[in-house]
């Protein structure tokens, strides 16, 4: 019989692992807690250094997952129980209720057009609104609507308008059992909440936003239709500051993210260049501690950002941000590294680059899997040098950012995704020969 494997997490790492395993001939159950696969990469605007539109190069891979006969997509689902050991794990997966029949819905979206109830759009970092019945984003896979019961007012309009008769209010959560020979975890990352560092004013000052919010603002299909405008007054910011290491490289016990998040310097430079392409007259400054432009092509890109785009790099970590209440402009206090004195510059918009941290709920997942987490809540490698993709449990592997900032960027995630596919093929394929 055909060996089956489970991939937990449908971001770029999980997608790559799934496709490589499926094409290698394994039956893959791809479990994703959200209604669509795609993960963080789907939220990004463009990807450095090719400046490809992120979702545009990701979408074909997502669709390949949907079409590949060997891949079973279990979206909007969560792993509840894992028993057994390498070669034969018994897994219980809970399929949450969309209140929409996956087999009937064709994602035409007529229901959403008619739905009267709105809620903040998670995919847009809650900068925009979506309906109570919605498609997470236009390229979502699978193309099935989902009803968010918390914001649904039970008006029943969607029932009436749905041409496919796909709405199912009686739908019950369903628990399915799977037999798999191996498991790979790819649950990705969450972002640190910068309001924990009060002097940067996130949540208090309107024009202080996070980098992920900026990605959505810059994105053509984002809440502003790709127009670079600031929250307080919808004006085009002419003067923007990026602040690095907001919660990263931070040993304070109430923050405890001593590691370098590994990607912030790079995406900040990318975003800075994107901003210049959107608004050539906008000035951009990046405040950093050490500029960590490692990885192929990044140093060269930083050089270009300086020479061609005139991005200002300031080696200084600001102490605090205050607001000019009349204009909602922001005053950033920092030590000028050239004069070595305290300066304050005014900016229209400040973008914080927060630490990346483990996804909410990984402790629970780790318990279910019986695998160890490291001091910061990332999955611990069996041996950080020799067995970087193995966990302490044989047959359970991890790839992508859930391993911690081992990932420098998308290619690293993809390499790790393929890598776990290799590890799994090693242990499973040998049993039946090539």
């Amino acid at each position: 019989m055909q060996k089956a494997v489970m991939v937990i997490g449908g971001g770029i790492a999980g997608i790559q692992a799934s496709l490589d395993l499926a094409n290698r001939g394994f039956r893959v159950h791809l479990v994703e807690k959200d209604p669509s696969i795609g993960g963080r990469m789907a939220q990004l605007d463009k990807t450095f250094p090719t400046m490809d539109c992120s979702i545009c190069i990701l979408a074909p891979k997502m669709i390949e997952c949907a079409h590949n006969r060997n891949v079973q997509l279990l979206t909007y689902s969560e792993v509840k129980e894992v028993k057994g050991s390498i070669g034969n794990f018994k897994v219980k997966v809970l399929r949450k209720t969309r209140y929409v029949d996956e087999s009937k819905c064709n994602g035409c979206g007529i229901c959403a057009q008619n739905c009267p109830s709105e809620a903040p759009n998670e995919f847009d970092e809650s900068l925009g609104m979506r309906k109570a019945i919605y498609m997470p984003f236009p390229q979502a896979v699978p193309r099935v609507m989902v009803i968010d019961k918390d914001s649904c007012i039970e008006c029943g309009l969607c029932d009436k308008v749905c041409p496919a008769d796909a709405i199912d209010r009686e739908q019950q959560p369903e628990e399915i059992e799977l037999d798999v020979g191996a498991i790979t975890v790819a649950t990705g990352f969450d972002m640190f909440d910068p309001s924990v560092i009060p002097q940067y004013g996130y949540g208090r000052l309107k024009n202080v936003i996070t980098a992920m919010e900026l990605e959505r603002i810059l994105c053509a299909s984002g809440p502003t239709g790709g127009h670079l405008i600031r929250p307080s007054d919808g004006k085009i910011p002419r003067n923007i500051a990026f602040i690095q290491c907001v919660g990263s490289r931070d040993r304070r016990e109430w923050i405890n993210h001593p590691y370098c998040s590994s990607i912030c310097c790079k995406y900040a430079v990318k975003d800075a260049v994107l901003i210049k392409e959107h608004e050539p007259n906008t000035v951009v400054a990046i405040f950093y501690i050490d500029l960590r432009a490692f990885g192929r092509g990044f140093q060269e890109f930083v050089n270009r950002a300086k020479s061609e785009f005139g991005i200002r790099f300031v080696r200084s970590s600001p102490g605090e941000i205050s607001e000019d209440s009349s204009t909602s402009n922001l005053v950033v206090w920092f030590e000028d590294p050239t004069t070595r004195t305290v300066q304050h510059n005014s900016f229209d918009l400040v973008v914080l680059c927060p630490a990346l941290m483990p996804r909410k709920g990984v402790e629970e997942l780790a318990k279910i899997l019986g695998v160890e987490l490291d001091n910061y809540g990332f999955f611990r490698s069996a041996d950080s040098v020799r067995k970087p993709l193995d966990t302490n449990i044989p047959g359970i592997y991890a790839c992508g950012y859930c391993l911690g900032p081992k990932t420098g960027d998308v290619p690293d995630s993809i390499t790790q995704g393929s890598g776990t596919a290799g590890r799994i093929a090693e242990i499973l394929a040998v049993r039946e020969g090539p």
Binding site: H67, G226, Y259, V385, P411, D412, S418, G422
Partner: protein, 590 residues
């Protein structure tokens, strides 16, 4: 004779990428009236599940026999649309794509009207060509279930083991007498400070004892021919040349440590100036003694100058050896433009080892940016707890090293934060130098037709999406051939390359692109120009006529352009098809 064309045109908004500039409904309206067009529609994202479903639906409803999609770029999406057309039981080569985003809306953002007109032209041309498209079949070949791994470093050995464990035969060749690559020569590895032998040892033992692996040391690749699934290679071994036939090849021949030219930072002039690699050796041999102070200088020969891609565009991608010769020559003196990723951790590792062997020794690290990414931050903290002193100096002013009367060294640098000159009297200077591409491997890359980047390392098929694939089917890259990586990263890429190669070998068969050259034997005079010009060695003159080995042909068209008798044409890009496009451009319909 082609049946009456019934073309369906599908135009994509790509969110606002296209829709925000071009009047998409207008273009659709226009397209629907073009000769041969039976159906035209537009959608927000044609590549989305819904968009593709719409194409399949239309093909059935309007019994379309040609499909044109006007959207982003074939580079990322042509394959997806071909698959879709195929799912609707239409030959995938009856599909044509018009690039109205990358080559239209993105470059004419500020001229929407003109952009819309241009989009109409592009669609009209695509339709014109589509009407003349013919079905093609993709050649299918068997894949030999054996692989050649070039280079027995950690990446190569990992890849070999992964494939061997899956039951594939692996031929693992190593230039040197012993497997292990540059890691073998190292003392200890960060961040665990495990002895390198603890990492290399088990791998060597495993590859040597694995029944599916044939390890050949002191062996290099002499010749490679053939194609995905069926490569014929000739290996130069101590006991003469050996032939092998493999389905896939993994290039994992690593990189070299950059050695500064004599005199740079007094290297090879004053004996007490060494590279980190050499310091690592000193530590292994326990030759350190009890120096009062060691000064380390970061980014020696890295992040220096910049190669502008434009400067090298002149070189044909195929002539990789010449390109690298030029790059290496240019870089020998001033060093490399890239960040070598691993040097900061290496310096910290050596600093910690020095402190452990000789706690009283004062270790000073002169750096520009400390790139201790990931959890290596803790490793950096460990060094500071051991009282290693990290001093940020002005990189633009290289530290000056002079000898003192009592035979010590004076290092004079400019402190970047105080702006003042600081001098350190020291017993030893360690230079942190980057990994650089090897030259020999590039001849090999040329043999395998794998392009190299302007940084001199082998190129991935796609920097973002295909990090261990190359643009040559069946050839993969692992480890530092594609740029600096540390040991764990090299191991991961080895696993990844093995996984990618195993897919081909596991499936036993592979299809290749149908767009290949076609010889009209009546016209061919067997002059052999095509054989000369082809970078892939596809044409062969047999019995006075050119024969194209389709599987080798990459469809580049050089031969067709070169052929004095116009005897060679390209499938899917025939002269008649292209001329029809040109006509359509010059003679606007309606």
């Amino acid at each position: 004779m082609i049946e009456e064309p019934r073309v369906g045109v599908f135009i994509c908004h790509c969110g606002v990428n296209i829709g925000g500039v071009i009047d998409v409904p207008g273009v659709t309206e226009y397209a629907s009236k073009l000769p041969g067009v039976t159906h035209a529609e537009h959608s927000l994202y044609t590549c989305s599940e819904a968009g593709l479903a719409a194409i399949r639906k239309a093909i059935a409803e309007h019994s379309l026999n040609r499909v044109v999609v006007a959207s982003c770029t074939p580079r990322t999406h042509e394959q997806l649309f071909r698959e879709t057309v195929k799912e609707a039981e239409l030959n995938p080569y009856l599909f044509e794509m018009a690039n109205i985003r990358d080559q239209c809306s993105w470059v004419h953002t500020h001229e929407p009207e003109k952009a819309t007109e241009k989009a109409k032209d592009l669609v009209r041309m695509a339709v014109a060509k589509a009407t003349l498209l013919e079905p093609q079949t993709e050649p299918e070949v068997d894949v030999k279930d054996a692989s050649l791994v070039i280079g027995a470093g950690v990446a190569g050995m990992t890849a070999a083991l992964s494939m061997a464990n899956q039951g594939f035969k692996v031929c693992l060749i190593e230039r040197e007498k012993e497997p292990g690559g540059i890691v073998r020569r190292l003392y200890k590895l960060y961040p665990t400070l495990a002895r390198s032998s603890e990492v290399v040892g088990p791998l060597v033992k495993a590859v040597k004892s694995h029944r599916n692996i044939e390890l050949m040391t002191s062996t290099t690749l002499k010749e490679a021919s053939g194609y995905v699934g069926n490569f014929n290679v000739i290996l130069t071994t101590p006991n003469g040349d050996k032939e092998a036939n493999v389905g896939t090849i993994i290039v994992a021949c690593g990189a070299l440590n950059y050695r500064p030219p004599q005199g740079l930072y007094q290297y090879k002039v004053l004996g007490k100036v060494v590279t980190q690699e050499e310091l690592d050796g000193i530590l292994r041999r326990d030759d350190l003694g009890k120096p009062e102070r060691i000064v380390m200088i970061q980014c020696v020969g890295a992040r220096k100058g910049e190669i502008r891609p434009s400067a090298l565009e002149a070189f044909p991608r195929s002539d990789t050896a010449e390109l690298l010769r030029k790059i290496l020559k240019a870089r020998k003196e001033e060093g490399w433009p890239y960040c070598s990723r691993i040097c900061c951790m290496n310096a910290i590792k050596n600093a910690i080892l020095v402190k452990e062997k000789s706690p009283k020794t004062d270790v000073v690290v002169l750096y520009g940016d400390l790139r201790v990414y990931k959890e290596y931050e803790d490793f950096y903290k460990r060094a500071r707890d051991l009282e290693v002193r990290f001093v940020r100096h002005i990189e633009e002013i290289p530290p000056e090293i002079t000898q003192t009367p009592e035979g010590k060294l004076d290092v004079a640098a400019y402190d970047a934060l105080s702006g003042l000159e600081v001098k350190f009297k020291t017993d030893l200077v360690a230079l942190s130098t980057p990994l650089r591409p090897r030259r020999g491997e590039v001849l090999l890359a040329r043999m395998l037709k794998v392009p190299i980047g302007t940084d001199g390392f082998l190129m991935e098929a796609h920097l973002k999406l295909r990090p261990v694939d190359t643009n040559v089917d069946g050839v993969f890259i692992a480890g530092t051939v594609s740029g600096p990586k540390d040991v764990s990263e090299s191991i991961i890429s080895g696993e990844a390359a093995a996984a990618r190669a195993s897919i081909l070998m596991g499936n036993k068969k592979v299809r290749t692109d149908a767009i290949t050259a076609l010889v009209d034997e009546d016209l061919c005079i067997g002059c052999g120009l095509c054989e000369e010009i082809c970078p892939y060695g596809a044409p062969k003159i047999e019995a006075g006529k050119s024969k194209i080995r389709e599987i080798l042909c990459r469809g580049c068209g050089s031969c067709a352009a070169e052929c004095p008798r116009r005897a060679i044409s390209m499938r899917h890009f025939g002269d008649h098809q292209i001329l029809e496009q040109v006509k359509a451009l010059l003679a606007p319909a309606g």
